[in-house]
Symmetry: C2
Subunit: 427 residues, 2 copies
């Protein structure tokens, strides 16, 4: 069937409810009018490549529940596509909304196609990495056509959103050189682009050829996730000149993309101390005209390798409360190794907790409903009800059964001293 | 040597620097004058029983780093004092500042004495529970003397602070009955007191005999931790009439205690949605005249049993940023069972992360220093430096060595794509 619109944004502007919008309306507590208005204005994105037929669409943005993304993909040192496929299945099982395939080794296209064919989740990629893997060239030798051929391949494969660090301009690099950062650049895509620009003495190819990018993305409805190549990788480097310089450019590119009906979200930090998070969220919403914000963490301290799912949950909850729309999970393995399956599960759970607590705090309707069901079950010592309502029933059940009390209505922490039991007949 | 002061507060008011204050000054980045002024005014407490000779004192309150407490103790169902002693050792090893012994079974006095003799940490207890264990009476049959004899025993044993729910008055219970809570009372001490009051038709004995409590506490310098017997146990029940009613009374009792030179801190929630935490901290500081705030969590959602160390870390970080001075750890076992050793370690680490990120955010001087050392090590791919600066060097090292890269300067997440390595010679 021929569609009478190009992108979800174009459809919304024509007042057309797409099948993907129907799906979003089923999941969220909003009206058709609200959704149309916000997709048309760019405040909500629905990343849904026109050829991703098995996709269960998710909306990301204003007034919607906070979504979470699971990063996976092989590296040269740990290169098992089947292992990464199990991680993708974990993402589905444990309630993630999106998966980013960050593979940088081996036959990436085959794996990407398999993910798109088998996974119902939104899929994102970073064509910049894949250009190196695909062409096997040195960074300096990559041509502008090489960059865009990768983008075209990903779009044709059915990828729903792509990270492109189009705002990392020479001006931003010049700001970086003066900034006195402790960790310089920690974005892989950002580092590759800077190397290309410096070695060739050229401007960012995605900035100079932004129209070419928009053309590809409009044709397939690929949402652009404007990457923050200069995101801070240390508390010390947070909210500095280079970061904000790049954000200003991302805001300009956002408006330009919207003129072409191309969906855009903005990627954000990174490492940010807790007291700077609210301000960072407000600044992004302002400079990027209300475009959805996709944050990595933020991590609120640098000193907790092995526990960065927790530092990210603290930052992510604070970010979501203050307007972040999409959280990239962080696993306990961050900064140390490619995550194992156990790491992936811990990372997903921490991100879901952050998103959910953020939703309660940002006033998403009915988000506290499940908490109330749990509390009612707790208040009546209904253990079955508690397990059924838990975000991880398996783990909760396992914990309890590993240490059973002599009276089955309480638990081994308090036993007879259980306050709930004691008050049962009194109040 | 005879001391020319009773409590730390009395000493500060006489402009005397005690050995415990010297210890605090070694740990914190504040002046003698600041410490004296704040201890005298009640905004800082130094819980240090006059007979606790092996104590390494900690200060809790305004301008100091956020401290963390580890709960332990046996229940009827899991009753191994030696197992709890290992938890106490874990608390020391992993950097907790205080331990609360919440034992409710067996020979509690023997265990308490052992903790005081062997542990250098601040020790807290809840004499209300122990009155039941000690007297073996039904709650209704306990006499006023029974309650106070337990307090005297704990004070004589050398306990540094005791939780007493003196603000849980009949007025507060009447407010509770009208509140429509989902989880009623979740405080064990609170539930016991309410049962006693309701069955005997009497007012809270610690409220009516507050002077008797102050006399015992002044004589031994036991800091009173005014318990919140009506703390919310559900997001739904947060910041309601009964909670605030009790807090008002705690504020009144605080001023009264200060007149007798008795040190006081205030205990707080519990379960609080993220957006209500800042307000709760401000309200406590206002109603309780700047007394230090000791919070349990707060947990920012009810639906994550098995992961409540994370929900508490989110709430604790937010609380610390907004003025909480002392965080009670929460383990993954909360709501499910008495914690194992592994649970205890996870709980301590999560609480330390929350406290540290809160300290950066509340502007404690030099609190970001260690983050900068870590980031400098990351920025130069100095792995040894990263391990040495990590809050858990063991875990960080184990993660990395479980998955070694082919080039030893990077890690298996990015391999050759390491942004830091790529930028090494470029910028």
């Amino acid at each position: 069937m021929e569609k009478n619109y190009t992108t979800q944004m174009d459809a919304a502007r024509k007042n057309i409810i797409t099948p993907q919008m129907e799906e979003v309306l089923k999941q969220e507590n909003i009206s058709k009018e609200f959704l149309l208005e916000n997709v048309a204005a760019g405040r909500i994105v629905i990343p849904a490549n026109r050829s991703h037929s098995g996709l269960k669409a998710s909306g990301i943005g204003n007034g919607l529940t906070t979504k979470i993304n699971v990063n996976l993909g092989v590296s040269k040192d740990v290169c098992s596509f089947s292992g990464e496929m199990v991680k993708a299945d974990l993402a589905v099982k444990h309630g993630a909304h999106a998966v980013m395939d960050l593979s940088v080794s081996g036959n990436t296209e085959q794996f990407r196609k398999r993910l798109i064919a088998e996974l119902p989740l939104v899929l994102g990629t970073v064509p910049i990495y894949d250009t190196l893997t695909r062409t096997k060239k040195e960074v300096r030798d990559i041509t502008v056509d090489d960059w865009f051929e990768t983008v075209e391949t990903h779009a044709a494969n059915g990828v729903d959103f792509i990270t492109i660090h189009a705002g990392l301009t020479r001006k931003a690099i010049s700001s970086l050189k003066k900034a006195g950062r402790l960790c310089g650049i920690v974005s892989r895509g950002g580092a590759i682009l800077v190397e290309w620009m410096e070695k060739n003495g050229l401007e960012n190819p995605f900035y100079t050829h932004f129209d070419r990018l928009l053309e590809i993305c409009r044709a397939r409805d690929v949402c652009i996730s404007l990457g923050d190549g200069l995101r801070p990788g240390a508390i010390h480097d947070s909210t500095d000149g280079p970061q904000i310089q790049e954000l200003i450019t991302l805001g300009e590119l956002t408006r330009y993309a919207w003129e072409q009906d191309v969906q855009v979200m903005i990627e954000g930090p990174g490492h940010v101390p807790l007291h700077e998070i609210a301000m960072n969220m407000q600044l992004q919403k302002k400079l990027c005209h209300g475009a959805p914000f996709y944050v990595l963490g933020p991590l609120v301290t640098d000193i907790a390798p092995g526990y960065d799912h927790i530092t990210a949950a603290i930052g992510g909850a604070m970010a979501a409360m203050n307007g972040a729309d999409f959280l990239c999970y962080v696993t306990p393995a961050e900064h140390l190794r490619l995550p194992t399956l156990a790491d992936v599960k811990e990372g997903i759970m921490a991100a879901r907790i952050a998103a959910h607590t953020g939703d309660i705090a940002k006033g998403i309707k009915t988000s506290g409903h499940r908490d109330n069901i749990m509390s009612r079950a707790r208040g009546t010592l209904d253990w079955g009800g508690q397990f059924n309502t838990a975000i991880d029933p398996e783990k909760a059940r396992e914990y309890r059964t590993s240490s059973l009390p002599s009276h089955e209505d309480v638990c081994t922490m308090c036993g007879d001293f259980c306050a709930v039991k004691r008050m049962e007949n009194l109040l």
